[in-house]
Symmetry: C2
Subunit: 344 residues, 2 copies
């Protein structure tokens, strides 16, 4: 989504500016560090929609009162492998990273940690949390539900959010295996981008207000679930998995009940968003060494498999890590509005 007037900045400078703006908006040191970490993750791996451009939004919500400036996280242990984190209506990143930390501690002894999060808010890219667990050596799953904008299969109504499923696993001597996928085919910002480029959308990605598939970005009113016109029942059900774990198990808000993230009048009422994190310790299953050898061999075999003509086979995360390397070398592109907001 880079226009020609984006400019590139180094990671450290962006992190500093993002945290400075959050500090001015009153965010506590812990919560702004967590939000900065998650935003920079997204910006580095190329998910600009969830990167530093969100700093302005979060600052506005800290100002409006939707987000508490100095949240007091609390952890309630429910069983040897389970806990709930209460985010105290602060920045969602703070609660979500805490859930990973709690999950790791549980997994070290129980073998698995299942952690629900309640009274949270937008957490940015779910992959940041799966990654945080994998970087410590744990297989990690993170999910959240979000504002309704995706049709059901055969539906003509925005029902689920783009509800991400993120998985990561440690890969010996390399950055983790990482999957961070929306359960819709495309994100909403793809529609916006294709409008601004006057370009048709790929088949099966979006629908008109009547639920009819369209490739016209101006006619697109809602997104379609992964699997498109023929197999969208699978994507819709996977979006339901995100809702099941994030909202139903934690007793938080359904996709269609959220106060809108953007565009609503209400920026003072907390949204009570839920998330869910699952952390697994390979040491309690095949063993860390055997798991490491197996995943290394698996990923090597995947990368070495036959591509189709003109194609390239990549493991989940390969594209993201390549993007990170490039952005660390040449800077992270930032759009003009965000450049102004950050005071760059």
């Amino acid at each position: 989504m880079q226009a020609d007037d984006t400019r590139r900045f180094p990671e450290a400078l962006l992190r500093e500016c993002v945290e400075a703006r959050l500090a001015e908006a009153g965010a506590s040191p812990g919560s702004r560090a967590a939000a900065g970490r998650a935003m920079l993750h997204a910006s580095l791996v190329g998910v600009d929609s969830h990167g530093v451009r969100l700093a302005e939004h979060y600052c506005r919500m800290l100002g409006g009162g939707r987000l508490k400036r100095d949240p007091l996280l609390s952890v309630e242990h429910r069983g040897a492998g389970s806990a709930m984190v209460d985010g105290d209506d602060g920045l969602g990143h703070f609660a979500a990273y805490k859930a990973v930390e709690v999950g790791i501690a549980l997994a070290r002894t129980a073998g698995v940690g299942a952690v629900g999060v309640r009274r949270s808010s937008h957490l940015g890219a779910a992959g940041a949390y799966a990654l945080a667990g994998a970087e410590q050596g744990f297989v990690t799953f993170a999910t959240t539900n979000t504002d309704s904008m995706v049709a059901l299969f055969d539906g003509a109504q925005k029902f689920h959010g783009t509800n991400p499923l993120a998985f990561a696993a440690p890969l010996p001597g390399e950055r983790p295996w990482l999957l961070d996928m929306a359960t819709s085919s495309i994100p909403l910002n793809r529609v916006m981008l294709h409008r601004s480029l006057d370009k048709t959308l790929p088949e099966g990605g979006a629908a008109t207000p009547d639920g009819e598939p369209t490739t016209d970005p101006y006619a697109a009113d809602m997104l379609l679930p992964l699997g498109g016109v023929d197999y969208g029942y699978k994507g819709a059900a996977l979006a339901g998995v995100a809702t099941l774990f994030s909202a139903l198990l934690t007793g938080t808000t359904l996709d269609s009940d959220f106060i809108p993230m953007y565009g609503g009048d209400d920026i003072s009422t907390p949204r009570n968003m839920g998330h869910f994190v699952l952390v697994i310790d390979p040491d309690k299953f095949a063993g860390r060494a055997a798991f490491g050898a197996a995943i290394a061999r698996y990923v090597q075999s995947l990368r070495g498999s036959v591509p189709r003509a003109g194609g390239r086979v990549m493991a989940p995360g390969d594209r993201e890590w390549a993007e990170m390397d490039e952005r660390r070398a040449t800077g992270i592109p930032v759009d003009p509005d965000t450049v102004r907001f950050l005071g760059l």
Copy 2:
């Protein structure tokens, strides 16, 4: 996949015949009861590919020695929330149902039970095990990896199996919310069916030996991952999630290393297949009553949402339970070969 010469039989009779044939092939009472239960589940919900027609295959494998007739399951507890089940090379259904049972026991106290299975074999429909947990009141996830037959995104080689992801959750006063999905768009038997009907395949479901998408069932050599030509990287990564949990975490066989389920010469060597089951107790999160109320409201809102013209919106499982009702009323259709094998 019903041809005109299928005949319909009542559930009880089929279960009896399936178990009788397995008994003749030497399967122990526990293992044949588990296999019968799983096959009847698949046959009742309309997944005929994994239903009673597999009885003949399993009997052949019991005869050949691939499957042990009287397996001794063992359970090794690894942590308060984790365990490994060793299937002792018996029928996979036996080990997989055991894993659900172990997972439930762990979840009752730890809040979550993560159970790996090793030295197992084909388990039929993964949904049978997610369902078994949900029927006891637990949110349950079950997965397995299988023989390579699905291309990677941009790949021209059979890499992953159709690797199912199955989730189920208890729904108060109703049969569970149930998702049992292959991570390919279509199953291999869809290709076979369309060959026999001389019908073209839907777009994005299958590819030629060069990995080029095709709708010609005769040209189809491998399946494509969910998401098709544009978003197949998501389906391929989800297939990887199945492999990650089922094979890498359990130290069992990779998709491409399996002795072929069908068609190979070797029916005497065990396949060391792995599975993975995750069981979560809602009582350790929102609480059983709050969870029940939330999922009931969610499913009601889903079923009541606006359909597109000519469409019908269903919750995951609705189609399966309707099929079950119909088949309980009119009988389960069985193909002629299986009718002969079962001695009906």
